[in-house]
């Protein structure tokens, strides 16, 4: 009894400790810092709180042979430091950066709302280039279209449903909802092959149009790519359209080239886009004549030309304020070579602007992705310049300076895996899992108590203590809770329940065999132990193997699962063997133990009878 009392006290202390740890949201003791504003202060995985999970691979190739070289640990360390510095100084929150295997880097950004910004900040090869962006580009003929790819060319008036007005039936025309708002268009019928090729061209044009619209919204007026057509009929006809002027004839919306027909609509210039060439369907029909032929060309919206000016020529970049307006700007300073090249570039752009009116830009490109493309207000030959933008915020100015300044990463990297979860989805998953888990656990407790009576109640108590301990261990270590971790927790609860059920079944056997309550409990536990041990050890083996494999692979979900399951299994053994057993032993010594039926629901009567006879 004294031993039981001692164990009971220990259990009580553990429960109190767990309660305290879980009750205090944030624990801070010198270096030791756990918890935060999450439920119970547990640390949540990206799938539960939202965020970005990025895996990069360092790629070091021999510049001559192109062979892949080994990356040293030092290089990985310095890579990890550079990225950490970049993200930290951007105010995006604290990244968790981890080196995986020998050439991989895992960057986790909990709670981040804009993964695109983080990715730009991290950069990849971090090759910063300044390019001359020409806005006056020459059309390039599309050689892939042959005259035999085109079946017919006609000019029609078309409504916005994509129907040819002259082909509408009288009924359709007289209906009150008739769509007779029309615009003139060319209808080009292709062969199957021609249609597929034209579809691809149209998709590219549509994408460029969408991007152009987006850049316009951000204040940078970039023209979209345009499709030029030269039609030779009874007269020559030439005009250009952007991606939004092309549709398939049976399309549902006129913006996107949907559908399967081989006929395409190309809007004739009817607006003030190109006033000189405004033309209606009748005029176009006349010009087409009987046997027209058509050739296509593409005029790119802009072309970026390499001028050999890179991040290496940049001395300094920092956020500052415009002296006049106080608006946030980025100041940059070049070294000698950079000053010379930048001077030449700005002079050329500026004088062209004066002569032709084309406002060419300087495209500043990081890893092939445009950071910003400022225009030039005057030639800059002194080597210092400021970049201002209509949409510049303090944050954006800081990011830009950081990217310009920190130049290149020590080794080029490549993004090989990304997982972004929106915070709303994460919070939703968390809430639902908690509710569902609670319902499940309650049902289990209810079942155990109804079916196994007193032992069931004891087991339920042990299970609650088990849950408390597991959560506390998760918080202290800390174990990051993910959806796969929730899964592992369910399985380990299952195993904890199983351990209890095994013990009770054994105990019932012993009670039926006529043993006293206390000895039935002791023998029941001892008999059940090998099964519990072997079952749990084989689970632990699986966990160890999973953990090891996922460590090699950098599969953090799998690793989290294995770790959570292993912890759960170990604690479930403790809960069944120590907590349940002690509580049962204590109960066996009370008056309750004489009411055998409370311990053995079925067949309990016989045992009670037998015991009272003996």
């Amino acid at each position: 009894m004294r031993r039981n009392a001692r164990v009971l006290v220990i259990i009580a202390i553990i429960v109190a400790l767990c309660g305290t740890v879980l009750g205090i949201q944030e624990i801070k003791v010198r270096e030791f810092h756990r918890g935060g504003d999450t439920p119970l202060g547990l640390s949540l995985g990206l799938d539960l709180q939202g965020g970005s999970h990025l895996v990069y691979r360092a790629l070091l190739t021999d510049s001559e042979t192109g062979e892949e070289l080994d990356v040293s640990e030092n290089q990985m360390q310095s890579l990890s430091k550079t990225i950490e510095r970049r993200i930290n100084s951007s105010g995006l929150g604290e990244p968790i950066i981890q080196i995986l295997g020998n050439n991989r880097l895992l960057v986790q950004l909990p709670g981040i709302r804009d993964p695109g910004r983080a990715k730009t900040l991290i950069g990849e090869t971090a090759r910063l280039e300044f390019k001359h962006r020409y806005l006056d580009t020459d059309p390039i003929k599309l050689e892939s279209f042959q005259p035999e790819d085109i079946v017919s060319i006609t000019a029609e008036d078309v409504n916005s449903d994509g129907k040819i007005i002259s082909q509408l039936s009288t009924e359709e025309l007289s209906s009150p909802n008739a769509n007779i708002v029309s615009f003139p268009a060319l209808v080009v019928d292709f062969t199957e092959k021609g249609a597929e090729e034209f579809r691809q061209t149209a998709v590219t044009l549509a994408m460029s149009w969408v991007l152009a619209m987006d850049s316009t919204r951000k204040g940078n007026l970039l023209p979209p790519d345009r499709l030029g057509m030269t039609i030779k009929g009874s007269e020559e006809l030439r005009f250009q359209v952007a991606g939004d002027d092309i549709a398939r004839l049976d399309g549902e919306t006129l913006i996107a080239p949907l559908g399967t027909s081989t006929k395409f609509l190309i809007a004739l210039p009817a607006s003030e886009d190109q006033p000189a060439t405004v033309i209606n369907a009748d005029q176009a029909r006349e010009k087409l004549g009987l046997n027209p032929s058509i050739s296509f060309d593409i005029k790119k919206g802009y072309i970026d030309e390499d001028i050999g000016l890179t991040g290496d020529d940049l001395e300094n970049a920092y956020p500052s304020q415009h002296q006049g307006s106080g608006a946030p700007i980025v100041s940059i300073e070049f070294d000698d070579r950079g000053t010379k090249l930048f001077g030449e570039l700005t002079t050329e752009i500026y004088s062209k602007q004066q002569k032709t009116g084309f406002r060419d830009q300087i495209a500043i490109v990081l890893d092939g992705q445009e950071l910003i493309a400022p225009v030039v207000n005057s030639p800059i030959t002194a080597g210092t310049a400021i970049i201002q933008g209509g949409d510049f915020t303090l944050e954006r100015v800081k990011d830009l300076s950081l990217l310009l300044e920190s130049g290149r990463l020590p080794i080029p990297i490549e993004l090989i895996q990304e997982r972004d979860v929106d915070a709303i989805l994460g919070a939703d998953s968390l809430r639902k899992s908690v509710v569902a888990g609670a319902i499940g656990l309650l049902l289990v407790l209810l079942f155990m108590t109804l079916y196994y009576r007193i032992p069931g109640l004891v087991a339920s108590l042990a299970l609650v203590i088990y849950a408390l301990i597991v959560l506390t261990v998760f918080k202290i270590l800390p174990v990051t809770l993910t959806l796969s971790g929730v899964a592992a927790a369910i399985l380990s609860i299952g195993m904890a329940v199983d351990a209890n059920i095994l013990i009770f079944e054994r105990m019932k056997d012993e009670l039926r065999a006529g043993r006293t309550m206390l000895s039935a409990i002791n023998i029941g536990f001892n008999r059940a132990w090998p099964a519990i041990r072997d079952g749990n050890v084989s689970t632990l083996i699986t966990c160890a193997i999973l953990y090891w494999f996922s460590d090699q692979l950098g599969a953090t979900i799998v690793q989290g699962f294995a770790a959570t399951l292993a912890i759960g299994v170990l604690i479930s053994m403790f809960s069944a063997i120590v907590v349940s057993r002690t509580l049962m032993r204590v109960l066996a010594l009370t008056a309750l133990s004489r009411r055998v039926r409370l311990f053995v629901p079925s067949g309990g009567k016989d045992i009670a009878d037998r015991q009272s006879q003996s």
């Binding site: 619209m213 990304e418 079952g535 699986t542 494999f549 692979l553």
Partner: protein, 308 residues
């Protein structure tokens, strides 16, 4: 109850459950691999609630934006799971913008990108290879442990192998059902599926060991009785516990399946199937393999039944 005598029927039932899955696995395309195994991108898109957009329209629009390879799965009234080839930041942005302009030009925000995943083929290939080795390593580890844990009974090797047979039985049932679901419901398998399969393996072995433990005990106690009789007795003694344990686990899993989020539903489905299969296989496969091996005949129960 005579479990051992019915072992031929147990084998028949198992074969009937496994066969359709195997047929679907062999006939192309078998399991439908998700981007974790093939590489590519996937995203969860939530359109504003008042937009009308259906799966077909979305697929067509994706085609029009240069992604004819895209597959679309509906997850909610205006929520979709879209899978495409690998997208870099620029093509992702332009695709999202394009979809927003096509379906919800006037709403603000136009659409929510709730989740985005990208897996390069390098990673995907490694995942497949590593998954294979992990399952193999787990099976071998368990085999050796069971062999060792049963070293005190005659022919312990058989227990290890029988546990592995039951484990494979359960894994094949789950994989087979997902091959069927992949065909009829476009259900894809991903890393999470792999984890759940490993969980099922863990449960299956755990359950098998409980029955074997009873056999281990009874073989030593009733060493004069015939082996099939001992196995039958052991099953009868453990069946109450087996049913109770799997019942409680199923209750928890069902609660999670019905009330938990959509993101882990597939995972729970695997576990539910696996728990049922795992409980069944401990009694009807693992134990019966031991008996069959001992009797050296599957057909014996038809000639003359051995019962307790």
């Amino acid at each position: 109850m005579d479990f051992v005598g019915k072992r031929f029927w147990f084998f028949v039932i198992s074969s009937l459950v496994i066969a359709p899955g195997i047929i679907f696995l062999i006939l192309a395309p078998g399991l439908r691999p998700g981007i974790d195994f093939t590489g590519g991108s996937s995203m969860t898109i939530q359109f504003p609630e008042d937009t009308s957009v259906d799966q077909k329209e979305l697929r067509e629009s994706l085609g029009a934006h240069g992604h004819p390879e895209a597959t679309v799965q509906k997850m909610g009234p205006t929520m979709f799971f879209v899978r495409t080839k690998e997208l870099d930041e620029i093509s992702k942005d332009s695709l999202v913008l394009g979809l927003a302009n096509s379906f919800a030009p006037n709403s603000d925000p136009q659409l929510l990108l709730q989740g985005f995943d990208l897996v390069s083929p390098v990673v995907a290939q490694e995942t497949v290879i590593n998954a294979f080795w992990a399952v193999l390593a787990a099976a071998i580890g368990i085999f050796f442990y069971v062999w060792w844990a049963f070293r005190n009974v005659p022919r312990p090797l058989r227990y290890g192998l029988a546990a592995i047979v039951a484990l494979l039985h359960d894994a094949i049932i789950v994989v087979g059902i997902f091959a069927i679901l992949g065909e009829i419901a476009n259900m894809e398998v991903n890393t999470m599926f792999l984890i759940s399969l490993l969980t099922v393996i863990g449960y299956s072995v755990n359950d098998t060991i409980v029955v074997f433990d009873k056999i281990r005990e009874n073989v030593l106690v009733f060493s004069n009785r015939p082996f099939p009789e001992v196995v039958n007795l052991s099953i009868s003694e453990t069946i109450g516990r087996s049913i109770n344990t799997s019942f409680t686990l199923l209750v928890t899993l069902l609660a999670l399946y019905l009330f938990g989020g959509a993101t882990i539903r597939e995972f729970l489905l695997v576990l539910i199937i696996g728990v049922v299969a795992g409980t069944y296989s401990s009694i009807a496969v693992a134990s019966q393999v031991l008996v069959t091996w001992d009797q050296k005949s599957i057909a014996l129960p038809f000639r003359k039944t051995v019962t307790s």
